[in-house]
Structures are given as structure tokens and as C-alpha cells.
């Protein structure tokens, strides 16, 4: 197994883990972190694509895209956290609407 393949598989695993957190996470902050884990996985996978050919130089295009993607993910995360803080200030909850009541009942005890 070559290094790029290993990186690619790690990226795929991160996407899976993060996706679970993003979809199934009960806590808003956990979902936002899940989004960041998915993002990291996609970027790692994208980076492994840069080594397209074992003997040629590294392809710079995916690297340029990763940097753009990181900026976008940063902006999205900042906005999400800002809204989550405002929502917490207003309602003292960090749960997304709709599925808040039933899950994680142990927190209420």
C-alpha cells in the first residue's frame, strides 16, 4: 500500500466518522464538529489525489482547492458557532430543533 492510498483511506474513514456525527449528533456543537471532521476527511482525500503519478511532480491543483475549501469550511464553522451561541443565549439549549426532546434523556437527570 502506497502512502497516497493510505492517506486516501484515512480520508474516507474520517468522512464516515464525521458524517455519523453530523447526522446523528444530538448536540449542535457535536454536529458542527462532525462537519469539520467530514471536511478534514475530504481534504485529506483530495490531497492524496495530488500524487497522481508515482514518478511525476505533485499536482498543484488539488492543493489549491484544499486551501479554498479550508477557508470555506472555516467561514461555515464560524457562522454555525455564532448562531449556536446566539441560540443558546436566547433559549438556553444547544439542541437542533425538532429532535431535542427524546434523545439523550440522561442529560436531564
Amino acid at each position: 500500500m502506497t502512502a497516497p492510498v493510505l492517506y486516501g483511506l484515512c480520508g474516507a474513514a474520517l468522512v464516515g466518522i464525521g458524517l455519523y456525527g453530523l447526522v446523528a449528533g444530538a448536540d449542535l456543537l457535536r454536529r458542527i464538529l462532525g462537519f469539520n471532521v467530514v471536511g478534514s476527511g475530504v481534504f485529506l482525500y483530495f490531497g492524496s489525489l495530488a500524487a497522481r503519478h508515482p514518478t511525476l511532480a505533485v499536482d498543484p491543483v488539488p492543493q489549491a482547492m484544499i486551501i479554498t475549501g479550508i477557508v470555506v469550511a472555516l467561514a461555515g464553522t464560524a457562522l454555525a458557532v455564532a448562531i449556536a451561541i446566539r441560540l443558546h443565549d436566547e433559549t438556553a439549549t444547544t439542541r437542533p430543533p425538532g429532535n431535542a426532546e427524546n434523545r439523550d434523556a440522561r442529560d436531564l437527570r
Partner: protein, 505 residues
């Protein structure tokens, strides 16, 4: 033709690029102007209309316009490309955003008593950025550039949803953001896979290379799922009604009319220009079935709402369902008479007229909410006498949404219906007619209250007639789109992908 005008529409002037730069520059200036930002509304609206008109004239005279940004040609550089579809989208963006800007001047400018709110400071930069993101989607010829446009759209649209700062609005905003961020990651993953397989992200270069291998299939599936989440297509529509209903009225108009259409434009480019070969009959019928379910469930939910803005928002879910019918129905030669133009053209007519009608309806609803203080349908009795122009605008927009002639909505549905019968897929026609009847049902209910006599106590706030007229103008444009459909029809044929004529499956 005067020489100056000929120079203006020569391909040398990059109107496609200017259409993106103009709103972004306006956003920067608005952020600097602070409390005076509302003064930018009229100049930006006029300049946006002029640039869209010049770009469209350029495309009409010279065919598809291509700009290599910075002189770097694809595959290394990123091309901007403007075809008939992009032009149609640019024109609708310019018209709707002009209406939204003019309408918002009163609500987000300085109040008559000189007091000011934080809302005015952030609204204008966000609005201009949203328009910039939409324009970027209209002119991008590169999948990654489209991703950046999508993200700009997402971040600013979410902020517009949460602008009121009430808990319900914030909850709707974060729900929208989570859906949209998941969608953008899926899209980005698909983009990465396409780059791995084909070594380019330029749409035209991909069109020659895309085949039916497993990697391309996976990529298109991931990107479609992501775009459906962003476009609120059934079954990923859950975030839309609370988000669009809790945003301020001008923002709702922009969100419902245009922001959900951006991802759909990318879907059209993905399926019809990049990878038409992978759409098997099974896939096309499946996407169509999702659209049909969206039409029926969105309409039924709209029937059950008690708040005016929620009815309009669920109506958007239903109307977006029609968009997915393009996949099973596409086909039909554009070379023949317009009535055999096929579903691809029909769906864009539908999207354009929905954008104009839905923005008119949200602005009219905004005027009604201002008048009575909330948007309970039961409390709307007699508003028709108080706000005759807004009520008329609501009615005209309803005509277009129901698909009654001579509106643009009728032209779009007619093209879709004839494509359904011509290709022997009568079951889609049944769904469309049922959707039209349901639309009549959920729109007549608020209309009957609007036209009833007023028995309820309480004073009504006066809404300036000039602002109601903006809603009427947009509604009239959605009717005019049907009356003058030949011009837009010919525009859409410029750069029309081959798969639009041959059908996907």
C-alpha cells in the same frame, strides 16, 4: 444600431464577469457605508439590470461567451461561461433582486423618526453578497468555481434567515446551515472524485471525457444528493419552510425565488452537460418520482398551514418538485415549433416564472404582515380593501403558480405536459395537473380571506402604495413571461446541451 451600443455588446467587454463583481463591490461599499447603505439600493438595482441586459444582448448577438479569467485558459485556469441558461438566470436575478432592494429600502433604511437598528447594517452587505453568489453560479464554467459560488450563497442566505434574531429564526437558520454544509461537503467529495478520474473540473472539458464508469457514477450521485439538500428537493426539503417563513419578507423573497434555484442550475449542468450517459431510465424515473412526491406532499402540507408565509414556503417545496420532472421528460427537438420544445426548456420557463411569482408573493405577504402585525390567515380578512395593490399582486402571482394561461407558469407546465404526452409518460401529466389543482386549493384559501369583509377590531398599519407596486411589477412580469415567451425561448436555445434535445434515457 449606434456604434457605442455595438461596442458595448462586443465580446471584448466581459459583462459576465462584471455581473459578479458588481454586487460584490456593492457589498463592500455597503459594509463601509454602514447606516447609509440603503442609498446603494437604487443605483445597484439599476446597474444590475443594465449589466444583465447587456450580457444577454451580447450572448444573443455572439453566441456563448467565454472568458478566461486572468488570461489563464482551462484546464489550468478557470473559465467563466455564459450561455442561454445562464443569461435567463442572470436576468431573473437582476429583476428579482431589483424588486427586493427597492422593497427593502423602507424596512432596512433609516426610520422616519431617525432611529436605527442593527438589522440595517448587516442586511445590505448580506443581500449584495447573496446576489453575487447567485451571479457567480450563473456564469461559472468550472465545478470548483461553482462550489465557491454555492458556499457564498449558503453562508449569506443562512445569515439572512437568522437576521431577526428571534429563537425560531435562529433555530431555522442553524437547521438550514447544517443541511447546506452537509450538501456542500457531498458536492466537494464528488468534485474530488471527478478530478481524480478526469483530471479537470472545466464543464466543457468534462463533457467530452465523462463516461459511465463507477467512479463518475459515484461522483454524480454524491453531488446530486448534496445539491438536492441545498435546493430543498424532496425528501431533503425539511429545512425550507421554517427558514423561508422566519426570514424578513424581502429576504424570503430572494431565498424562495432564487437561492434554491442556484443548486438546481448546477444539477442541470451536471446531468445534461457533463454526464448525460449515466441517466438510465431507472434513475430518471426515480428522480421524477421524488419530484412528484415533492409536488404532492408540499401541496398537501401547504393546504394545512395557518400562517400565510408558511403556505407560501410550502408552495415553494411543491413548485420545486416540478424541477425534478425534467429528468424523465427531457427530449424533444428545439429545432421544431416551440410547443415541441421539450421539457428542458419548459423547466427553465417554470423556474423563471416561479422566481418572479414567488418573490412577488412574498413581498405582497410582507406588506400584509406589516399591515396586521402577524401572518395568521384568519386575521387577513378584508386586507384586500386596505392593500388593493398587494392583493392584486398576490392574485396575479397565484395565477402564475397555478399554471393558468397566459402566465409564464402556464408556458412551462404546458411544455412539460406536452413532453409527458409525447413521450407516453402520462403519469407525470396526472401529477402535474393534480399539483395545479392543489395549488389552486392552497392559494384560494388566503385569497378568500383577503377579499372578505373586515370584522376584526384593531388598526391597520399603512403600507406605502409604491412598495406594494413593486410586488405587482414582479407578478406582472411572471405573466408577461408567458405572453412574450418567444424571446426567452430563443435565448434558451443558445448553448443548449445536446442531451436536452435527445433526452437523458
Amino acid at each position: 444600431m449606434p456604434a457605442i451600443f455595438a461596442d458595448l455588446v462586443a465580446p471584448a467587454v466581459p459583462w459576465a464577469a462584471i455581473s459578479v463583481v458588481l454586487p460584490l463591490a456593492a457589498a463592500l461599499i455597503a459594509a463601509l457605508l454602514g447606516r447609509h447603505a440603503h442609498r446603494l439600493a437604487i443605483p445597484t438595482a439599476l446597474a444590475g439590470l443594465a449589466v444583465a441586459a447587456l450580457a444577454t444582448t451580447q450572448v444573443a448577438r455572439h453566441g456563448v461567451i467565454e472568458i478566461a479569467v486572468g488570461g489563464w485558459k482551462p484546464p489550468l485556469g478557470i473559465a467563466l461561461r455564459l450561455d442561454g441558461l445562464g443569461c435567463a438566470f442572470l436576468l431573473v436575478i437582476a429583476l428579482v433582486s431589483a424588486g427586493v432592494m427597492l422593497f427593502a429600502r423602507a424596512g432596512f433604511g433609516a426610520a422616519p423618526d431617525g432611529s436605527e437598528t442593527r438589522r440595517g447594517y448587516v442586511f445590505w452587505p448580506l443581500l449584495f453578497c447573496t446576489i453575487g453568489g447567485l451571479a457567480a453560479i450563473a456564469v461559472s464554467g468550472d465545478l470548483f468555481n461553482l462550489y465557491v459560488g454555492l458556499e457564498l450563497l449558503t453562508v449569506t442566505a443562512v445569515a439572512l434567515v437568522g437576521l431577526d434574531g428571534k429563537p425560531a429564526a435562529l433555530a431555522a437558520a442553524i437547521r438550514y446551515l447544517l443541511f447546506a454544509l452537509l450538501g456542500s461537503l457531498l458536492y466537494l467529495l464528488g468534485t474530488a472524485i471527478l478530478y481524480l478520474v478526469h483530471g479537470t473540473l472545466d464543464i466543457r472539458l468534462l463533457a467530452g471525457a465523462a463516461s459511465t464508469d463507477g467512479a463518475t457514477l459515484t461522483a454524480v450521485a454524491l453531488m446530486t444528493a448534496g445539491l438536492m439538500a441545498k435546493a430543498a428537493l424532496f425528501p431533503l426539503h425539511g429545512w425550507l419552510p421554517p427558514a423561508h417563513a422566519s426570514a424578513p419578507a424581502p429576504a424570503s423573497a430572494l431565498l424562495s425565488a432564487l437561492v434554491v434555484k442556484g443548486p438546481f442550475i448546477i444539477m442541470l449542468r451536471l446531468w445534461f452537460e457533463i454526464a448525460p450517459a449515466i441517466a438510465t431510465p431507472f434513475v430518471a424515473q426515480g428522480l421524477g418520482a421524488l419530484g412528484a412526491a415533492g409536488i404532492l406532499i408540499g401541496s398537501l402540507l401547504a393546504l394545512r398551514q395557518h400562517r400565510l408565509k408558511l403556505v407560501i414556503a410550502y408552495s415553494t417545496v411543491a413548485q420545486l418538485g416540478y424541477l425534478l420532472l425534467v429528468f424523465p421528460l427531457a427530449g424533444g427537438s428545439g429545432e421544431q415549433q416551440p410547443w415541441t420544445a421539450g421539457a428542458w426548456t419548459g423547466i427553465i420557463f417554470h423556474a423563471m416564472s416561479h422566481a418572479l411569482a414567488k418573490s412577488a408573493m412574498f413581498l405582497a405577504a410582507g406588506a400584509m404582515v406589516e399591515a396586521i402585525g402577524d401572518d395568521q390567515i384568519e386575521r387577513l380578512d378584508g386586507i384586500g380593501q386596505h392593500l388593493p395593490i398587494a392583493t392584486f399582486a398576490f392574485g396575479l402571482a397565484a395565477v402564475s403558480l397555478m399554471g393558468l394561461p397566459p402566465s409564464g407558469g402556464f408556458t412551462g407546465k404546458y411544455l412539460l405536459l406536452s413532453a409527458a404526452f409525447a413521450s407516453g409518460q402520462w403519469w407525470w401529466a396526472v401529477v402535474m395537473i393534480g399539483g395545479g389543482l392543489l395549488a389552486a386549493g392552497y392559494l384560494f384559501r388566503p385569497l378568500s380571506h383577503l377579499l372578505a369583509e373586515r370584522h376584526q377590531p384593531g388598526d391597520l398599519v399603512v403600507v406605502a402604495r409604491s412598495r406594494q407596486t413593486i410586488a405587482l411589477g414582479l407578478a406582472a412580469l411572471s405573466i408577461l413571461l408567458g405572453l412574450l415567451s418567444l424571446g426567452p425561448y430563443q435565448l434558451l436555445q443558445i448553448g443548449r446541451p445536446g442531451a436536452a434535445a435527445e433526452g437523458l434515457s
